[in-house]
């Protein structure tokens, strides 16, 4: 694989860019692989990349029913942060942030990880209590997160309305300076290119339609729209479609899939310096490198696989955005879209072996898994390679729903993303 660099760009500029090669191949399918990953989203591709890079397992296929990165990876608001409350979450997400910090260099692909800071607004006394609980726990977990007064919050994000007369006045904010955003597509492409360069087969337009199991119930391979492909280990990383795929192996999941919508405004000159989230009024906003305001809405209330949702959900989100940022009222919505998010009862993911031998699952990231992409792929690769969890995903089992040992950030904080 030819390396990307400023010099390479300059060289190619001299010769009409004739020298750029394919970032990944469309390889001939083999009849079997050591490991099959179902789903070429960020998590699936990262898993394949780390299998190859960290565990030397390169006879890997990533099967994707559509185009790689076209799932939630390609439709999320790209907020990255790790200031979670529980030790399990802090461990996992902070692991991811550390990987994010070197990811462009590691992949030789600029994923534009922008540590512009993620600020979470507290609008009432309860929010303040909850956020301070996070700040304290984060400090002792070595995760950066600081408390800001309303004035400090305004200084960090000038468009913010901190007037006392607001319906929900700003009572302060928790700021994670290392949080930020990344270019979502580049993440998928960067992992795909880097994985392909290490020999991983990325097979698009190849839908998995069945999971074949052997005499003692173990996985032997998958049926796809392009025929049967054998593998002793199969990792399901299908996000919103996980229940559907796992059903193929007769495994029911503690998951529900909801539409989650987002929108972008028309592009404008830089006017918004960081990421702001407000759970009380339900708004998430940042400005992309291209200039659009990227805004996340809430989930629609019903389960769906349609990748669309209702206008009223978008309206509620914009109500909130214009409430905290009244100057944006004349801005315009350019495009809105939806993804399908798979939500577990405790809103934390499952990254684990399943009751079926050889079948692994990485799912349940709900509305907030983009931020975990490198960490998730890294620990899942470890789990598949060793048939045992990495220390950072030990708690993320399915059994926790039987034992009751949940990792319920939402219950503890009513915070998503």
């Amino acid at each position: 694989m030819r390396r990307f660099s400023g010099f390479a760009v300059a060289r190619e500029a001299m010769r009409a860019h004739k020298g750029w090669e394919k970032q990944w191949d469309n390889p001939e399918l083999k009849s079997s692989y050591d490991v099959i990953i179902i789903g070429a989203g960020g998590h699936g591709l990262a898993t394949a990349y780390y299998l190859a890079k960290e565990h030397g397992i390169t006879n890997v296929a990533v099967l994707e029913k559509g185009w790689l990165g076209g799932g939630n990876t390609g439709r999320n608001t790209t907020i990255i942060r790790s200031n979670y409350l529980f030790d399990e979450s802090a461990g996992l997400y902070n692991h991811a942030v550390k990987l994010w910090e070197g990811l462009s260099q590691d992949l030789n692909y600029n994923v534009m990880f922008s540590q512009r800071g993620v600020m979470m607004m507290a609008h009432n006394v309860h929010d303040v209590q909850v956020f301070k609980r996070h700040v304290h726990a984060n400090r002792l977990n070595g995760v950066d997160n600081e408390w800001l007064t309303p004035e400090q919050a305004k200084e960090y994000c000038p468009p913010l309305d901190i007037s006392k007369s607001a319906r929900y006045p700003v009572r302060g904010a928790a700021l994670q300076r290392k949080g930020g955003t990344a270019r979502h597509d580049a993440v998928a492409w960067g992992y795909a290119r880097a994985a392909a360069a290490r020999g991983v087969h990325i097979v698009q337009n190849c839908e998995v339609k069945g999971i074949r199991r052997g005499a003692s119930g173990e996985v032997t391979g998958v049926e796809t729209s392009r025929g049967f492909i054998g593998a002793k280990k199969v990792g399901v990383v299908a996000a919103g479609n996980t229940s559907h795929v796992m059903q193929m192996a007769d495994v029911q999941m503690p998951l529900e899939s909801y539409p989650l919508q987002a929108l972008v405004s028309e592009p404008v000159k830089p006017c918004f310096p960081c990421v702001v989230m407000s759970n009380t009024v339900h708004a998430y906003i940042s400005q992309s490198d291209k200039g659009e305001l990227v805004i996340g809405a809430g989930t629609d209330q019903y389960t769906s696989y349609s990748q669309t949702g209702g206008l009223h959900v978008i309206q509620h989100t914009l109500d909130a955005i214009c409430e905290i940022f009244p100057i944006f009222s004349r801005m315009k919505m350019l495009r809105s879209w939806g993804g399908i998010v798979d939500v577990t009862p405790d809103r934390s993911p499952i990254i684990a072996q399943t009751p079926v031998e050889g079948l692994y699952v990485n799912c349940g990231w709900g509305t907030g898994g983009f931020k975990a992409t490198p960490g998730s792929g890294h620990v899942f690769a470890h789990t598949i390679a060793n048939a045992a969890p990495h220390k950072f995903n030990e708690g993320y089992t399915m059994e926790r729903f039987t034992s009751g040992r949940l990792i319920d950030e939402a219950a503890a904080a009513a915070v998503s993303h």
Binding site: S243, H244, Q252, P254, S257, S304, T308, G310, F401, S403
Partner: protein, 105 residues
């Protein structure tokens, strides 16, 4: 915004009058205390989450207040039928064909 037929109001009403209430036909055991851990997990946490026709509960919370059930296609978000709480799963074979016939080409 979906349009949902409330079987009690006998009328289609806008989604914002309703609250979705999860998968339908999951019965709470009359011997709740006796369930195994797995039995409880199945009852409370595990869901079919069907891609296709799902049976789900809704409450006409800002209308007549009644809980009722619906069969809906989660791929197209189309309702096939709604029916009152306590009624058995309806036979969809006919309804299905009708709706299909409704889509012209």
């Amino acid at each position: 915004m979906l349009l949902i037929h409330c079987p009690y109001c006998a009328e289609e009403r806008p989604e914002t009058e309703f609250a979705h209430a999860g998968e339908a036909h999951i019965e709470r055991s009359t011997q709740m205390g006796e369930l195994t851990d797995e039995g409880f997990a199945n009852f409370f946490f595990y869901r079919d989450n069907t891609k296709g026709i799902t049976y789900e509960r809704w409450r006409h919370i800002h209308g007549c207040g009644r809980f009722f059930n619906a069969a809906r296609d989660t791929v197209s978000d189309k309702f096939l039928v709604t029916y009152k709480a306590g009624e058995p799963k309806p036979d969809l074979s006919e309804i299905d064909n009708q709706t299909k016939a409704g889509a012209k080409s």
